[in-house]
């Protein structure tokens, strides 16, 4: 059985998207510098291939110029993977050593 991987960047993106669907640039702004503008789109593309997020182009008003922007949201599978990794992180977190009197 292949255990799905989730990098730190992918975890952050899923965290941000779990609140609301966003455009790529909004993810960069909301991440407060953790996500880079040049790499977020490549990561989102990879996450789509893995099935963690899905995307669609926005509806444009008639006569609008330029390319339609792409909105992203997590899939149910992506949220399950995020929850599983969060649970694993909590379980594996080292407890502080007890101080003996």
């Amino acid at each position: 059985m292949d255990i799905p991987t989730l990098s730190t960047t992918e975890r952050l993106i899923l965290d941000l998207l779990s609140g609301e669907e966003m455009f790529g640039l909004q993810l960069v702004e909301q991440s407060k510098g953790a996500l880079k503008r040049g790499t977020v789109y490549v990561t989102l593309g990879r996450m789509q291939d893995k099935g963690y997020v899905e995307s669609w182009t926005e509806e444009r008003a008639p006569g609008a110029i330029g390319l339609p922007r792409r909105l992203y949201r997590p899939t149910a599978y992506g949220l399950r993977v995020l929850d599983a990794w969060a649970a694993a992180a909590r379980t594996l977190k080292r407890r502080p050593k007890l101080q003996h009197a």
Partner: protein
């Protein structure tokens, strides 16, 4: 103004449809939206948006191109190869120019003039490195069609011709103009005597004969080496391109080997220069790297043909 249109057209040439739709177009769309939303009267803000937006889109395109699997579309493969070649050539030339200018005192002429004077001597070295690495990185993965191979080899031939023109006419004139300008700036009068890098092929041959007639065999051999070096360096692009193709296997080039070959080429050139003082014929000293890589390429190609395995689609 709608930013990103040219980049979109360029990306359509080098990226697959899937990469374009999923990765590049969202980046361009966000740039266009950000530019449209920037305050109309805040010129600095709009410029800042454009600079950061374009940089991001170029980075996205480079990452998409590097992650691209083997593509069947010849046009995209060729564009990718030539973009890599142009980028590496510009970087190599830039590095050589910086290294040259670092040893130069700036006197009474602008920095751009200095760059213009020394650029021609950097190009014959940067061009073979650029196209060879362009082949190694641009043609990665998958089979290469005969047509793609032909176009790239034609480009190598053209690049060799450009190198020859630069070495024979442009570099000597630029070098001599530079030396003359620096000499006059330092208060000198009259004409500066030409060194070997400032002579044309005919002048090198003539000076070599004069040196031989005056009983200076060492100087004659060195000038003769310089003469043959101009021809050899001109052919370097074609020789290294054939070598890079010969290294290609179905599934990818050996990039590290190609990069090492570029370094080895110039090491062999230096060894040839040293060896002529020990008696090696100047023509052999100048052509040593071309002969080495040319023979290696022929051996690889003949061996592949002998095993009768189809390599190119």
């Amino acid at each position: 103004m709608i930013p990103g249109r040219t980049l979109h057209r360029l990306a359509a040439c080098v990226c697959s449809a899937k990469m374009l739709e999923r990765i590049v177009e969202p980046a361009i769309a966000d740039l266009q939206n950000e530019y449209a939303e920037a305050p109309a009267n805040a010129r600095l803000s709009k410029v800042s948006v454009l600079v950061s937006g374009y940089a991001a889109v170029l980075e996205v395109m480079a990452m998409a191109a590097l992650e691209m699997p083997a593509v069947a579309n010849e046009r995209r493969v060729l564009m990718r190869t030539f973009l890599w070649a142009a980028g590496v050539t510009a970087s190599a030339a830039g590095l050589l120019i910086v290294l040259t200018l670092a040893q130069t005192a700036y006197v009474s002429t602008t920095f751009l003039n200095h760059v213009a004077y020394v650029t021609p001597q950097a190009l014959p070295i940067a061009i073979p490195i650029g196209l060879t690495l362009g082949i190694a990185f641009g043609l990665n993965g998958g089979a290469v069609s005969h047509r793609t191979r032909k176009v790239v080899l034609l480009a190598a031939l053209l690049a060799s011709a450009i190198s020859f023109g630069t070495l024979e006419w442009v570099m000597p004139a630029a070098n001599q103009s530079y030396r003359q300008a620096m000499y006059r700036a330092w208060g000198g009068r009259g004409m500066v005597t030409k060194g070997s890098n400032e002579m044309t092929l005919a002048e090198l041959r003539g000076e070599s004969n004069i040196a031989r007639g005056q009983g200076e065999p060492g100087k004659a051999r060195w000038l003769e080496w310089n003469y043959h070096l101009r021809w050899a360096l001109s052919c370097a692009t074609l020789v290294l391109a054939v070598f890079a193709f010969a290294l290609m296997r179905r599934g990818g080039t050996r990039r590290a080997v190609v990069m090492a070959a570029c370094v080895m080429y110039f090491i062999l050139l230096f060894m040839g220069e040293v060896a002529i003082a020990e008696g090696l014929p100047p023509i052999l000293g100048a052509w040593l790297p071309n002969l080495t890589f040319g023979l290696a390429a022929m051996a690889m190609l003949l061996r592949r043909n002998a095993t009768d395995v189809p390599r190119f689609g």
